[in-house]
Amino acid sequence: MYSLIVTRRRLLAVFVAAAGALLALLLLWRPARLARLTSRLFKPRLDPTTPTGSLSESELDTILAFAALLVEGRELSAEERGYLVEHVSERTAKTPGYLALYRKTAGVLDGLAAGRFRSLPFAERVNLITRHGLTRYDVRIREHLLPVRREILAVRALAVPDLIGGYYASPAGWAAVGYATFPGRCGELARYTRAEA
């Protein structure tokens, strides 16, 4: 005979089972909607209430040391660094949320390095960012539910794509595809009539 006495443990078990069943039902019924809901609830976002401004020189150096690994996998020339400096500076100065994001990113990197990330040798920097998954910027929805540090997710989901996008939108991106002149830089008119050398 089953006892009808409702113990706290039994109540908890029933609650967990019901929640699990509900989640399973939702997953089967509307997986896309559930994914969207999860993403909406947990996806890292820029905080538009934070102020705009400039990073300190050391913070900017840390960001550049990180970006160089991401965008080219090598140390950047002064010109290439200049494109990134322009991009990051414009972001932090004009769009609320980016100053806090990049400040947080520099903090995360120094935290992982247990010191100055920018002072680490190149190979160690590569090792560090791959070990901590900072190169995986296509954050999966399920990762939002896993016990991954929110700061790391914010760096992956927001800072990394912004650095990559900013760099490849600059003349460096056009240089990568072999264009010396490109939208915004005028050149010889007839060039568009022939294949590139």
Binding site: E72, G73, G166, G173, W174, V177, F182, P183, C186, L189
Partner: protein, 530 residues
């Protein structure tokens, strides 16, 4: 300078509201005939020396042509398709010619006779032949580059003033495929300097035609307004927004009430008023000018002001090819096909033309951001993926529909406290049937090129705001006559795309220019006669 001021009231012979394509052209046409003109322009005079900065801002995703006054560009939308104005109009001396693509197409003779030929919409009160000499003059004034290789073009009495832009590398690929399919491909005429012309330099393929850094693309701030001012008969007041027109009991407009950023009202009196503020703002100004004598707004006895808001629905069809096609080396296209734009049955579906795009597919940063790669692999991926997309853009004719409109939305106010325009817009079955046919044609061309992953983007619309003060013979079914004079206000002219009766598939600016020259000629005759 012949402008006189009496306290808060100035007076002139002709007051033109708007210094864009139509207003700029009219200012020159009247001033060169010795008629005193004052142009009231809501936007600033954009300093040409700042074009490099504007280009940089444009590349960063900003629209440098928007108003600096907060709320002045505010508007609301309704209807099946949300027609937004943020990137679809420009404020300042030059107006929409500041940001236009520069495509300078004539309409076809058929376009003026939709009712007679196809039993749909209305005929224009003038014909292609009536407008043909003015097309030639507009082409010379704007500096149109082209060649007569379009077999579907209506006859022309003058040659293009500038040689055509050569076909692009990707045009060569399209030409081969089109030839195999029996589709005619020809040059795309454009008001852009293929050689130095009119004191402006040859195009240098800067790739940012929305903001032309060199001035090679014609815009009336460079082509017409300076010439008009140099006559000594034209005066341009910038950053002055006209709030309403005031009419007397006799039904004539007596003054334009305008204000600057200080919101202080001033008046300009004139013998003749020309509203050339674009299809949205011209209609809005007429509606804002309601008074006890004109309860529905000025020139709105027909009730048609703001009705028949029309544009050109667009689709882009793209496909991936194995070969490199070297896109993004110009900001404009050089080849098109008018095969489906004229001489066809247009009773059930619209005309359309094909633009063979010189720039399509993802940009380097878009490839990078979506690649998921990093480091050396990322750079390699960008290099390999870039430049393998071909695209065809389709411009479709839209039928006038009273359901599409520009009205006043009293729930939202602009900088001056006036109701903002509400744009109600939809794309109907007539246009969708043409788009379906166009999609099939474009996909066929891409398939003939061996393209894979052929995709058609969602339907959207061009920056053309037409039909809101349509032209016609009868005051009951139109707002202006063939000279663009308002039927019910004899000293008021409404110029620009708003006067179009039907939209054609062609870009509207050259027709706007030709009609403006013709209307200016008429106004000069009226004033001289008087």
């Amino acid at each position: 300078m012949t402008l006189t001021a009496r306290g808060e009231t100035r007076e002139t012979e002709v007051c033109i509201i708007g210094a864009g394509a139509a207003g700029g052209i009219m200012a020159l046409e009247l001033a060169r005939r010795g008629i005193r003109v004052t142009v009231l322009e809501s936007g600033p005079r954009h300093d040409f020396a700042r074009r490099a900065d504007y280009t940089r801002r444009f590349i960063k995703g900003e629209n440098p042509w928007q108003s600096r006054l907060p709320g002045l560009d505010r508007h609301t939308t309704s209807g099946d398709v949300e027609y937004r104005l943020e990137w679809n109009r420009a404020r300042g001396v030059g107006g929409s010619t500041l940001h236009w693509e520069g495509y300078a197409l004539r309409f076809h003779a058929d376009d003026f006779r939709m009712r007679s030929l196809h039993g749909t919409a209305e005929d224009w009160p003038l014909s292609y032949d009536d407008l043909e000499p003015y097309y030639g003059r507009a082409e010379r004034a704007l500096g149109v580059a082209g060649t007569s290789d379009d077999p579907w073009a209506s006859p022309r009495s003058t040659a293009f003033p500038l040689p055509a832009f050569p076909m692009s590398f990707s045009d060569g690929l399209f030409t081969d495929a089109c030839r195999r399919l029996g589709i005619g491909l020809h040059h795309l005429p454009q008001a852009r300097n293929s050689i130095a012309y009119g004191g402006r330099m040859q195009c240098r393929a800067c790739g940012t035609c929305h903001v032309c850094p060199t001035g090679a693309k014609a815009s009336t701030d460079l082509t017409h307004i300076p010439q008009a001012e140099s006559t000594g008969y034209a005066y341009v007041l910038t950053e002055m927004t006209v709030l309403r027109l005031e009419a007397d009991r006799g039904g004539l407009v007596r003054s334009a009430v305008y204000a600057g950023s200080d919101r202080r009202e001033r008046r300009l009196t004139a013998r003749v008023f020309v509203v050339a503020a674009g299809g949205v703002e011209t209609a809005r100004l007429l509606l804002l000018s309601a008074s006890p004598d004109f309860p529905n707004g000025i020139a709105n006895w027909s009730g048609l002001v703001g009705r028949y808001f029309t544009s050109h629905p667009l689709i882009d069809v793209t496909g991936r090819v194995d070969t490199r096609v070297y896109p993004y080396r110009t900001g404009f296209s050089t080849a098109m096909s008018n095969q489906f734009a004229a001489r066809r049955d247009r009773k059930k579906r619209g005309a359309f033309y094909l633009e063979f795009m010189n720039s399509a597919g993802p940009l380097p940063h878009q490839i990078a951001a979506s690649s998921g790669a990093w480091g050396p692999e990322l750079a390699k991926r960008v290099r390999e993926e870039f430049g393998r997309t071909l695209g065809i853009r389709v411009y479709t004719e839209q039928l006038p529909d009273t359901g599409n409109s520009v009205t006043l939305d009293g729930t939202v106010k602009d900088y001056f406290g006036n109701p903002v325009p509400r744009l109600t817009y939809g794309i109907g079955p007539y246009e969708r049937a043409a788009m379906a046919e166009a999609q099939e044609v474009a996909e066929g061309i891409l398939r003939a090129l061996g393209a894979k992953d052929i995709r058609t983007g969602a339907a959207w619309y061009a920056s053309h705001q037409l039909g809101t003060h349509r032209m016609g013979r009868a005051p009951t079914s139109s707002v202006v006559d063939q000279n663009l004079r308002a039927h019910d206000v004899p000293n008021l002219y409404l110029v620009g795309g708003g006067c179009f009766v039907t939209a054609s598939a062609s870009q509207p600016t050259l027709t706007i220019a030709a009609l403006a020259i013709r209307a200016a000629e008429h106004i000069a005759e009226v004033l001289r006669g008087a």
